[in-house]
């Protein structure tokens, strides 16, 4: 049983979702106000938080911002269909994924599972658990990332993204590939969420401002993790 926090003001929808997800080994705890939701989110560890963007008490984005200030818990944002801005803002603030409302509950379930799978890590896979590129060190088993020995806090998506890029250092990883392995779905040309996650990751990796951008955008192809030698060659 995974514990899920559902923050949505639609009481009836919450009760139905609680019923529905209960059948799939998810224990849903529903809260209907933003401020209460934030309190509950901080009160304990959750496997996943489902957060509606429009909430009474405290706006969904504000809740997300305050959650992110203290925790890297996976958050899935439920946005209003047709409001592209909501989606982009949500991903910028640090949502792991989003789903436009109204959604098909089966899709919600699939997305939740994808996020949780990422969380639980690739330990079971045959790939090496410890990856090292330049001064970056990623431990897939411990789910930790060190940059020059300093710990960097990454959300689940960002971690999976970096892991994927570090598996192919200096090589271009296509957006399609990243979308399928990191977000667990086919690349949708409308969907800018991958780019949003990359830009957040990029920001976190160059927080001290002194270093070059390690994650490069290759226009029309994908993303690339620059390795030191390649960077030197580019500079020389």
């Amino acid at each position: 049983m995974e514990d899920i926090l559902l923050i949505d003001d639609d009481v009836e929808l919450c009760s139905m979702l609680t019923d529905y997800m209960g059948r799939y080994e998810f224990r849903v705890h529903a809260v209907h106000r933003g401020d209460e939701g934030l309190k509950t989110a901080r009160a304990r560890d959750w496997a996943l938080i489902l957060l509606d963007a429009m909430l009474p008490g405290l706006d969904g984005f504000e809740v997300l911002k305050q959650i992110r200030a203290v925790s890297d818990v996976s958050v899935m944002l439920l946005t209003a269909r047709g409001e592209d801005v909501d989606r982009i803002v949500g991903l910028e603030i640090g949502a792991d994924d989003y789903l436009p409302k109204p959604f098909n509950p089966r899709e919600l379930l699939a997305r939740m599972r994808a996020i949780l799978r990422r969380r639980s890590g690739s330990a079971a896979k045959s790939e090496p658990a410890l990856l090292r590129v330049d001064d970056l060190e990623l431990d897939a088993a411990a789910r930790s990332v060190l940059q020059a020995g300093k710990k960097i806090e990454l959300t689940g998506v960002e971690f999976a993204l970096l892991e994927m890029l570090m598996r192919f250092p200096g090589k271009v990883v296509s957006r399609e590939q990243l979308s399928e392995s990191v977000l667990g779905r086919k690349l949708d040309p409308f969907d800018r969420s991958l780019d949003m996650h990359v830009s957040r990751l990029r920001r976190k990796l160059s927080e001290d401002g002194s270093r070059d951008e390690q994650v490069k955008t290759i226009r029309g192809a994908g993303y690339q993790l620059a390795v030191n030698t390649a960077r030197q060659a580019a500079e020389g």
Binding site: D10, E12, L13, M16, L17, D19, Y20, R23, A80, R81, G82, E83, D84, P100, K101, P102, F103, N104, P105, R106, P189, F190, R192, G220
Partner: protein, 468 residues
């Protein structure tokens, strides 16, 4: 100076009166000099000639008088005080000798000639009569000369004054009409914010007439139109928003029901789910449309390759077409890049393409063509043409296909599952990129939707223009 009626009336009245007054003044000044002055000049000239003739006679006899006659090119004669002929030019008919008043200059007509009779006293004190004849020349009457002569002050005055006043009058008519026309045209092109600029604080002369009232009414109408359309859009958006919550609950309830359902109910539940999904899509499209109508212009432009976009959507389109036993052919003539929003461009082209796939007959091809062309004004444009082999568009309704919820054939769209919103979204997206979209029927059946975007270079110019 309020009403237009009064303006026209006043201007014409002033024009007529001015023409009459100025012409009269000019005619009077020009033609009616004092008659005395005229005669004085004539008399002094005649007396001068007479004096010279008398002097010539006294010094050189008739030969000298004849010489004078030759010199002044007149037939002249000289008589003494008693009326006897002294010298007489040949051919000069003599007037009857009945001198009414021998001391005055008199004239008389003899046959074809005027004869002036001038009494003169020479320097030696003798009195003579000097006779001078002018042939009576019949001046030919020429119509044009007479017209010019008679019309000379009136006509130019009428032309100038009439021209000036008519010019002013025409200004009163055309300036507000031109403004009105510009605004009406903008309004017709869908810019509901278009208004006629009302002359504020300008001369009191132009404010308050019928045109001014018309401009005011037009603006009022445009405002009303804008608020009505705005309210309609808002209603559409709000309704769509409000429909989302029950739909979300319905989806979950359906899923719950499906899990509890007996096998024979699954078919019905599947059908319900399909319809729910359709409703869902419709709401999504409506919200897209209304949010696009709310955008005035795109704020972030980036160069976007149309070929790349089309190539990206081909696999999905191909799959969709294969479901209907048709196929999609991509004819990329040459690479074409426009300035715009990738997302919106994708959406526009995809909607048109999917629409074509829905309408094309089974077993036929949908063609999508990307080409760089020159438009009528010589600017380079990117053209995307999507052609199908479907039923085509009734000629009378070609302009209507981009209206939301317009469908050529209601029965058919039931089967294809469209809502008639796709083309409206496409049109809006194309317009936001400064492009145009049009539809036409193909020879051999089917329809072609043509989208025209300003190409990257041209668009860069227009972007600068927009940001001004």
């Amino acid at each position: 100076m309020r009403s237009l009626f009064f303006k026209i009336f006043a201007i014409f009245w002033i024009a007529q009166s001015l023409i009459f007054a100025i012409s009269t003044v000019l005619i009077v000044r020009h033609h009616f000099e004092s008659p005395d002055a005229l005669f004085d000049g004539l008399h002094s000239s005649l007396e001068n000639d007479a004096r010279r003739a008398a002097a010539a006679y006294e010094s050189g006899g008739c030969a000298a008088v004849d010489a004078l006659g030759a010199e002044i090119e007149q037939q002249i004669a000289l008589k003494d005080a008693a009326g006897r002929d002294l010298c007489h030019a040949p051919g000069l008919p003599l007037p009857p000798a009945s001198a009414v008043n021998p001391t005055r200059i008199t004239s008389s007509q003899a046959g074809e000639q005027f004869i002036w009779r001038v009494p003169i006293t020479s320097s030696s004190g003798k009195t003579y009569f000097f006779l001078l004849a002018r042939p009576h020349v019949e001046r030919p009457h020429r119509l044009l000369d007479d017209l010019v002569h008679l019309a000379s002050p009136t006509l130019p005055v009428a032309i100038v004054i009439g021209g000036l006043t008519t010019f002013v009058l025409v200004l009163f008519f055309t300036r507000p009409i031109a403004r009105l026309r510009k605004a009406a045209r903008e309004l017709a092109h869908g810019n509901l914010k278009a208004r006629v600029k009302e002359p504020v604080g300008r001369s009191r002369f132009s404010s308050g007439d019928e045109f001014h009232a018309l401009l005011h009414d037009f603006n009022h109408m445009a405002e009303r139109l804008e608020s009505l359309v705005g309210a309609q859009q808002l209603l559409l958006r709000d309704v769509s928003h409000e429909l989302r919550s029950p739909l979300a609950r319905l989806s979950v309830a359906l899923e719950l029901a499906r899990e509890d359902a007996s096998p024979e109910m699954v078919t019905q539940l599947n059908r319900m789910e399909r319809e729910t999904e359709k409703l869902n899509q419709l709401i999504g499209q409506l919200l897209t449309l209304s949010s696009m109508e709310a955008i005035e212009r795109i704020d972030r432009f980036e160069p976007v390759s149309l070929n790349q976009i089309v190539a990206q959507m081909i696999p999905d389109a191909q799959y969709e077409a294969s479901q209907r036993q048709s196929s999609v052919v991509f004819l990329g003539e040459n690479d074409c890049t426009v300035q715009g929003n990738r997302h919106l461009l994708y959406r526009a082209i995809e909607n048109v393409l999917r629409n074509a796939i829905q309408y094309t007959n089974p077993g036929t091809e949908v063609e999508i063509r990307v080409a760089a062309r020159q438009d009528k004004a010589g600017r380079s444009v990117c053209v995307v043409e999507v052609s199908d082999r479907g039923p085509g568009i009734p000629e009378t309704e070609i302009g209507a296909i981009f209206r939301p919820f317009y469908r050529v054939d209601r029965a058919r769209s039931q089967e294809t599952g469209g809502f008639g919103v796709g083309l409206a979204i496409a049109e809006r997206a194309v317009k936001l990129h400064g492009g145009q979209v049009s539809g036409r029927n193909r020879s051999g059946g089917g329809a072609t939707i043509r989208m025209e975007f300003p190409s990257a270079k041209t668009a860069a110019g227009s972007t600068e223009h927009q940001s001004e």
